[in-house]
């Protein structure tokens, strides 16, 4: 018994000595480069290449401020579900959430988000070099409620663009395709040569994104001036007819492709021309990954009336149930600062921010040759419909468009059918 007690005592002494040594070692103290803080912030966003770059920035922020930042990066497919469950049940788990414009209205109406109007005016929170007028107004508008309250800081934008192999088009005698007619000619030529245009025409969100941008380029919309659904207007029918004509000259399999497959076809040089999303363009210009880096040209989607684009955005919002709202806003403002945004774009050139001063930055444009085309698209950028019933409309349109490009369904009949089923919801 005595021996046992002695062993326990020795053991405890060893443990205590180790604990003391650990406490005195550099690893046990607060980071020397920054102030210590008891605050721990949890950030919710989607996982993927940009999330890796984001993690580095968050680590840098932790070093500078001593604030511990945890990133909960999960698959995009589960992100909304997880955010909603946490905010609706007020778990307080998240201090900063990454929100696209499509979810913003729902979150805002449900009271999940903190108004940021006062915080953006407080330079002790934003930092001295915060300049709100530097942000693209269209981005700020997306995250401002009808009552005029800013509830998220616009952060990242992407848009579908036309991508083409400059050498191949030049060899075939084509200039940069700009209008519907231009691109139809190019697509028909390459279809005859055995390839065609790569299109993200799988039944899903990409095909409706392309439709929205093409509608904007034809000076029309899903809705009429009074806000009523108007899918049977001649301009809308004409736009879908163009999509059908273009799909006839598409690369084999395009009708089952999403953005990533189109990007691969461009990246490996199988498609001389295609429509892809700017968020994926880094791979196209990476010589280690791409067969065509340095050979590609970028343009806004072809138009009938004027160049236009689709604004697909993400922003940082502070949940109303966060216990560290000011600290969370400080982090959001830091991430949306010029320095952090530049670092993010350097790490991932497909990252496009809303700061106008960075849009023309030659150092960034060097690694992101699509920047000029993207900015041109953003100038006349529209968002997808954001009404509560919009997902149902887009789902019905995705199905209808899939039938138009796959089965050759009549565009006017399809649009009339969707109009009949969805009009009462708007």
């Amino acid at each position: 018994m005595r021996r046992t007690r002695g062993s326990v005592a020795i053991g405890l002494a060893v443990v205590a000595s180790l604990a003391a040594l650990t406490a005195c070692s550099p690893g046990g103290s607060a980071p020397s480069s920054g102030a210590s803080s008891d605050v721990t912030l949890t950030v919710s966003r989607w996982s993927g290449p940009q999330a890796d770059a984001q993690q580095k920035l968050l680590d840098e922020y932790s070093k500078q401020t001593g604030v511990t930042v945890k990133m909960d990066a999960i698959d995009y497919g589960q992100l909304k579900q997880k955010q909603t469950l946490n905010m609706s049940t007020k778990t307080g788990q998240y201090d900063l959430v990454y929100v696209p414009e499509a979810w913003f209205g729902e979150y805002s109406q449900a009271g999940y988000l903190t108004p940021l109007d006062d915080m953006v005016k407080d330079t002790s929170l934003t930092g001295a070099d915060w300049n709100q007028s530097d942000f693209e107004k269209s981005g700020l508008d997306v995250y401002t409620t009808a009552a005029g309250s800013l509830q998220a800081l616009p952060y990242f934008a992407q848009t579908p663009l036309l991508v083409y192999d400059k050498d191949k088009l030049k060899a075939a005698g084509f200039d940069e395709p700009k209008t519907w007619d231009d691109v139809l000619k190019v697509a028909a030529y390459f279809k005859d040569q055995g390839s065609g245009i790569a299109l993200p025409f799988k039944q899903g969100s990409a095909i409706t994104n392309v439709m929205a941008a093409l509608l904007a380029g034809n000076n029309t919309d899903f809705f009429d001036a009074s806000g009523k659904l108007d899918l049977t207007s001649p301009a809308v029918v004409q736009t879908v007819q163009f999509m059908q004509a273009l799909s006839k000259d598409s690369l084999a399999g395009s009708n089952g492709w999403h953005w990533d497959e189109v990007n691969k076809a461009l990246q490996f040089g199988q498609a001389p021309i295609g429509i892809s999303s700017s968020g994926l363009f880094t791979a196209l210009e990476d010589p280690n990954q791409s067969n065509v880096s340095g050979k590609l040209g970028y343009a806004p989607l072809p138009y009938a009336q004027a160049p236009a684009g689709l604004l697909q955005t993400w922003a940082w919002a502070v949940p109303a149930d966060s216990k560290n709202q000011q600290e969370a806003f400080k982090l959001a403002a830091w991430l949306d600062g010029k320095q952090a945004l530049t670092e993010m774009s350097q790490a991932d050139p497909s990252f496009i921010s809303f700061r106008t001063s960075l849009a023309a930055d030659p150092a960034l444009a060097k690694n992101a040759p699509w920047l000029a085309a993207a900015n041109e698209a953003f100038k006349n950028g529209v968002t997808l419909p954001l009404q509560p019933a919009a997902p149902e409309l887009l789902d019905a349109l995705a199905t209808g468009l899939s039938g138009v490009v796959t089965n050759g369904d009549d565009p006017a009949t399809m649009l009339q059918s969707v109009q009949n089923t969805e009009a009462s919801k708007f």
Binding site: Q203, G256, E261, D395, T406, N407
Partner: protein
């Protein structure tokens, strides 16, 4: 109260299985009788036994209640409401509207039809190919059969979503090996996953590739209980291979086949990952299954009540289609 073996045993033509079962049954009956002879119902032992039984069953009962009964009841209850995810506080009672909406929505009915077609085709191919291969493997030397079985079993180890990604690229007209082969056979115009008329069939092929190994494994195990003497006797009587298959193998595998149909059928009816990864339900909803439909309603269209109604309809379909098999399999166990 059971007083003896059921009539089916008297006419059971299976000598080995039948006789063993009868002996066991007789023993069980005598044990039951001897137990009844002791008047235990009022004794403290009987009470203690009952209490112990309740205590031992309680954890399982609570678990079933928490993870099965309550969620199912909640799903059934919420199917009578309109609400969005996270908006459970603002639920609007609509009674049967969600069910009426389901049965009047052409997309929902299409997804129901797709699911039934998918299940029938997948089940038919899986069972036929799986049992066929198992029977062939039985005729090989044990060592060869084991190696072949291990090779055939590989696809079942891959998760369905990975299978869908592999086959998506195999089916791709630009990169895929399927079209590489078809082109050489002069069949390059095959629609594959991008044609409404062929997409569902392509998914069935993928599912059969993925699920047949499971059938092979279970059917092979089922075949091991069939006495070799029966085949020897049949061979001596000059029976052909097909006759042995239909008169010996399949009748003696009935129980195994019922279980396989039950497991594989319900699995196929609930298919989600494969379709989600291969086509997402397209083109033009030609491959949308009930699970995909319910998922889209819940997480894309934000209609949780309607999605619950679609899920309840799926459950009812499963009960209608596979309930008789379940009952039959339970009866067989009682017998």
């Amino acid at each position: 109260m059971r007083t003896g073996p059921p009539p089916s045993f008297a006419s059971d033509s299976r000598p080995l299985a039948g006789s063993t079962h009868t002996n066991v049954q007789t023993n069980m009956t005598s044990t039951t009788t001897s137990r009844r002879a002791i008047p235990r119902t009022k004794s403290s032992y009987a009470k203690r036994d009952r209490r112990l039984a309740v205590i031992l069953l309680l954890p399982a009962g609570i678990t079933i209640l928490l993870v099965m009964i309550i969620p199912l009841g909640f799903a059934f209850y919420t199917s009578f409401f309109n609400y969005s995810l996270g908006q459970e506080g603002n639920m609007a009672f609509v009674f049967l509207d969600n069910y009426v909406k389901f049965f009047t929505d052409p997309v929902a009915l299409r997804s129901l039809l797709n699911t039934v077609i998918f299940t029938i085709l997948s089940l038919a191919f899986c069972i036929t190919i799986g049992v066929g291969i198992s029977v062939l493997l039985r005729s090989l030397k044990p060592r060869t059969a084991n190696v072949m079985r291990a090779i055939f079993a590989m696809p079942v180890l891959i998760s369905p979503i990975i299978v869908s990604l592999i086959w998506r690229y195999m089916y791709d007209p630009t990169y895929g090996i399927v079209y590489f082969v078809l082109d050489h056979l002069g069949l390059g115009s095959f629609g594959g996953l991008t044609d409404s008329t062929t997409a569902l069939f392509c998914i069935v092929i993928t599912d059969v590739w993925h699920a047949t190994p499971f059938i092979i494994l279970v059917a092979s195990a089922g075949l091991t209980v069939i006495p070799e003497e029966l085949y020897e006797a049949a061979r001596l009587d000059g029976a052909s291979a097909p006759r042995m298959l239909f008169n010996i193998t399949l009748p003696l595998m009935t129980k195994v086949l019922v279980v396989l149909i039950l497991i594989r059928g319900t699995d196929a009816f609930r298919v989600f990952d494969l379709i989600y990864g291969l086509t997402g339900g397209g083109p033009a909803n030609s491959t949308t299954s009930l699970s995909i439909y319910a998922y889209k309603q819940a997480f894309e269209n934000n209609q949780m009540g309607f999605a619950m109604a679609a899920s309840i309809v799926t459950l009812l379909c499963l009960i209608i289609l596979f309930g008789p098999f379940l009952r039959n399999s339970a009866r067989e166990k009682d017998a």
